[in-house]
């Protein structure tokens, strides 16, 4: 395998992900995972108000099967980073991400979680992807509930295609293991 296996960067990963078609089992499990996302709402700031509106009856997130917030990383597979992540919050975010069960995805909800927004200073972290790999970024401060639902559909497509960071990493480890055997 001439393709460099060390990175899960989407550009390289897309290249070698095409080489290995998904097995039928993978397709089935991804289909199951896609429609039953349990979110861990890592809520810190103003986007939390919009997160409430997304969960509220009007822009109901329950239509997409991601409605039930689980407040423990053990029982959730979608980490929604909602709001500004400060340097002091960094270790807590990293620890919670590490403690999540394996097929896990991350949505950066709002521009503060994506790039730090207009808080470019000593305390606000320029985006939560400084600490954890993020699958879908949602712009907006706070993003409109429709944007959040659109991001959820984006994530579902990515899960079905098997291109979430954690999915790519498991595929890479499996390939590295098989490569090691030969």
């Amino acid at each position: 395998m001439g393709v460099e296996l060390t990175t899960t960067r989407v550009a390289d990963a897309a290249a070698w992900a095409k080489l290995f078609k998904q097995s039928r089992i993978d397709k089935a499990t991804n289909w199951g995972r896609k429609f039953s996302l349990f979110t861990y709402p890592f809520v810190t700031a103003c986007c939390g108000m919009e997160f409430m509106s997304v969960a509220a009856p009007k822009y109901d997130i329950a239509r997409f099967g991601a409605e039930f917030p689980r407040f423990s990383p053990r029982q959730s597979d979608l980490l929604m980073v909602v709001g500004t992540i400060t340097e002091k919050q960094g270790p807590a975010l990293k620890r919670i991400f590490d403690q999540m069960a394996e097929p896990k995805w991350v949505i950066a909800f709002g521009v503060c979680a994506s790039t730090g927004g207009f808080y470019q200073n000593y305390s606000a972290m320029p985006g939560c992807d400084q600490v954890i790999p993020v699958d879908v970024y949602i712009p907006g401060c706070p993003p409109r509930p429709e944007q959040v639902l659109d991001a959820l559909i984006l994530l579902m497509e990515r899960i079905q295609a098997g291109r979430g960071h954690s999915q790519l990493r498991t595929k890479r480890d499996k390939l590295a293991a098989t490569a090691a055997e030969e």
């Binding site: 200073n121 992807d129 600490v131 984006l154």
Partner: protein, 184 residues
């Protein structure tokens, strides 16, 4: 508003006050650092004053302060005191307000703490210490409140650059340039 507060203050504690004044409806009394505790205790316990409600405590850093349209004498220069700690007090009974301002030199920003007189100042003095590095003697537990312990320096000082980050934890496989992927 209530000039009588300043008059009463100058009458009883004239020596302790550097100067008094009022700006935009607030009465300000510049108090000397040594007699701050005594003035504050009098303001709280004197029935005519009855300043029982603390409002806020903060600090102003006058480094390179150049007010537009003011004579050069007001500009900040090396010898002048660099920090001014402001305590705003309010009386619920008499409905008047006063602001105590204490000027501190740059090399020794230290003043007695008013945390025992008004419990609200306990956290606000910790915040002022965390942000400006002003030490409050006699404060129950003076430690950082906003920043994490490993943070070095006092961020709100004028000479601390805005974007100087001291990260606690970073991702090990941090992509040098974020993935420029356009496809879903």
């Amino acid at each position: 508003m209530s000039q009588k507060v300043l008059d009463a203050l100058t009458a009883t504690h004239g020596a302790a006050l550097a100067r008094t004044g009022s700006a935009h409806g607030d009465d300000i009394a510049w108090v000397r650092r040594e007699s701050l505790l005594e003035v504050a205790r009098w303001l709280r316990d004197d029935p005519a004053m009855a300043f029982d409600a603390p409002v806020f405590c903060t600090c102003i850093d006058w480094l390179d302060w150049h007010p537009v349209g003011r004579p050069a004498s007001e500009h900040w220069s090396e010898g002048k005191p660099r920090f001014t700690v402001c305590y705003q007090l309010r009386s619920v009974a008499h409905r008047h307000r006063v602001r105590l301002e204490i000027e501190l030199p740059e090399e020794d920003p230290r003043l007695p703490s008013l945390a025992e007189l008004w419990p609200a100042f306990n956290w606000q003095e910790r915040e002022t210490f965390d942000m400006y590095g002003v030490r409050f003697d006699g404060h129950p537990d003076l430690r950082r409140i906003y920043m994490y312990e490993e943070f070095v320096g006092y961020p709100l000082r004028k000479d601390y650059p805005k974007e100087k980050r001291q990260p606690l934890v970073r991702r090990d496989d941090l992509p040098e340039n974020p993935p420029a992927s356009t496809e879903r």
